[in-house]
């Protein structure tokens, strides 16, 4: 689905879509902003940063005017896309650039906070890749800095803009799949997560994901996206989390776990279970939303109802006769039959195989918000909680304790109320 289709669909069913995903109102002024441009500075144009730039390149309303990186090869690659961009090696210099309206932060996790805080101070709008900060405290301060400065604040939660997730949430919130009784999210890969390093002193700069001073591993890199799907579906923030993590396979000097598992508990007892292992990829990634009437697998782009249309009577009869004639005689009742899952091929949520992941739409929305200066509702809050929850899960794993969401880090959002700010 291209941008035009996306917006067209949005117009067709705007009312219900905006209920489930109010941040889509970022596109409300698309016609008025037609002749405007958002001037963007990219801090950390590494692999993700350049991927994001490739989408900005397709948006006539966006221009990357400045780049900042401490690693020259990243700058050189980025300049191939935007040869006219001014180059900085210190983000503070980029932030002094008056031609920059907004910054896009795609550095390693530990660098997000100082850059974002300084960017807000400098009056820039901020798009910060997930996870927002390396601690909940950092995320909280970033969120409040956004409120205090009134600048636009997006985080790299592209699922919030993925048409198939938007449709799923519309259906889930309308009760199509009944009461949501559980969420099972997982991300399985089979690989060491390493990148080739040209010289040993660059190990931590390039493989920053493997070291605790720069990253919280699987929880901040992968779980951050998927836990947010759970709170989006349930329109609730889970308040308790327990978990365990270990390095079970890739014992290669890394510091972060390669095998994690967490249980997030919502107030009504519903649980979101999260699992990530990077030495087996059979199940890939998914966030299974389990309702009493049906199941959704948004990554596959499919939904399945619990009761499926029965086969035609004639075929059932033939099948039964065949079984009576040829099956071995059972010595016990049907309760002995193994309860393996039923074959149910489901239906595609958008009528076809999924395409794209919302990144392009997310960046388009950011560009619109930068031009209008209007923060779309709930986008900063969703970003905040996605980050805070994966970090809370990380803390639970590290401390091997059941943790409760700390009151002092709650926002006045959904089921959360912060007594100090309410």
């Amino acid at each position: 689905m291209d941008r035009r289709d996306f917006l067209k669909n949005l117009g067709a069913a705007g009312g219900t879509l905006l209920l489930a995903s109010p941040w889509l109102s970022a596109f409300a002024d698309v016609e008025h902003t037609r002749h405007s441009k958002a001037r963007i500075g990219v801090v950390g144009p590494g692999s993700r940063g350049r991927f994001l730039m490739s989408f900005l390149k397709n948006n006539p309303k966006a221009e990357v005017v400045a780049l900042c990186d401490i690693y020259r090869p990243s700058i050189d690659e980025a300049l191939k896309m935007y040869p006219q961009a001014r180059v900085y090696t210190d983000y503070r210099q980029l932030l002094e650039d008056k031609e920059v309206d907004a910054v896009l932060i795609a550095t390693p996790l530990d660098v997000h906070f100082p850059v974002a805080m300084a960017a807000f101070e400098a009056g820039k709008h901020v798009f910060c890749e997930k996870t927002l900060g390396i601690t909940i405290d950092e995320c909280y301060k970033m969120y409040h800095k956004h409120l205090d400065t009134g600048r636009v604040f997006f985080s790299g939660q592209q699922r919030l803009f993925d048409p198939r997730y938007i449709k799923v949430m519309e259906l889930v919130h309308a009760g199509t799949f009944g009461d949501i009784e559980g969420i099972r999210a997982y991300w399985f890969r089979n690989g060491d997560w390493r990148r080739p390093v040209p010289s040993p002193e660059l190990e931590r700069l390039i493989n920053w994901r493997l070291y605790k001073e720069h990253s919280k591993g699987l929880m901040t890199e992968l779980a951050c996206h998927q836990i947010q799907v759970g709170s989006w579906a349930l329109r609730q923030i889970p308040n308790r989390v327990m978990g365990h993590g270990a390095i079970t396979y890739w014992k290669d000097g890394r510091e972060v776990d390669d095998n994690v598992s967490c249980i997030y508990v919502f107030d009504n007892g519903v649980k979101l279970t999260y699992e990530s292992i990077i030495s087996n990829k059979f199940y890939g990634l998914e966030e299974q939303i389990l309702g009493h009437l049906g199941t959704v697998e948004p990554e596959k782009g499919k939904y399945y109802f619990e009761t499926i249309e029965p086969a035609p009577g004639f075929l059932q009869m033939v099948n039964d006769i065949e079984h009576k004639l040829f099956d071995a005689i059972p010595f016990a009742g049907t309760s002995w039959a193994p309860e393996t899952a039923n074959e149910n091929h489901g239906e595609f949520i958008l009528g076809k195989r999924p395409q794209g992941d919302g990144t392009s739409q997310m960046l388009d929305a950011f560009v619109e918000a930068v031009i209008t200066g209007k923060q779309p509702p709930r986008i900063a809050e969703e970003g905040y909680y996605a980050s805070a929850l994966c970090l809370l899960g990380y803390d639970a794993i590290e401390q091997e304790r059941i943790l409760t969401f700390p009151d002092e880090y709650k926002l006045n959002y959904l089921n959360h109320h912060n007594p100090t700010t309410a």
Binding site: P312, G313, F314, M317
Partner: protein, 77 residues
């Protein structure tokens, strides 16, 4: 090789037999719909299977008749 002649009477008998098989197959489909509580549109939507079932019935009936006439001709000799 001898020319074989299919009489009008034979053709009529075979067509009637096929029709009877088709009616039986439809009755079986109707019974299945009632027994399994499925929808009556299957009387139309499952016609393909019903036709296949009628042909199968017709073939079975034909085989039975061939065996019967075969045995009868052997006995008469």
């Amino acid at each position: 090789m001898k020319d074989s002649v299919i009489t009008a009477q034979r053709k009529r008998t075979e067509l009637i037999t096929l029709l009877v098989c088709f009616v039986i197959a439809n009755v079986v489909n109707l019974c299945a719909i009632i027994a399994y509580g499925t929808r009556f549109v299957e009387l139309v939507t499952q016609l393909g299977y019903v036709v296949i079932f009628s042909v199968a019935l017709y073939i079975c009936w034909t085989v039975l008749r061939l065996i019967y006439y075969g045995i009868r001709s052997v006995v008469r000799k």
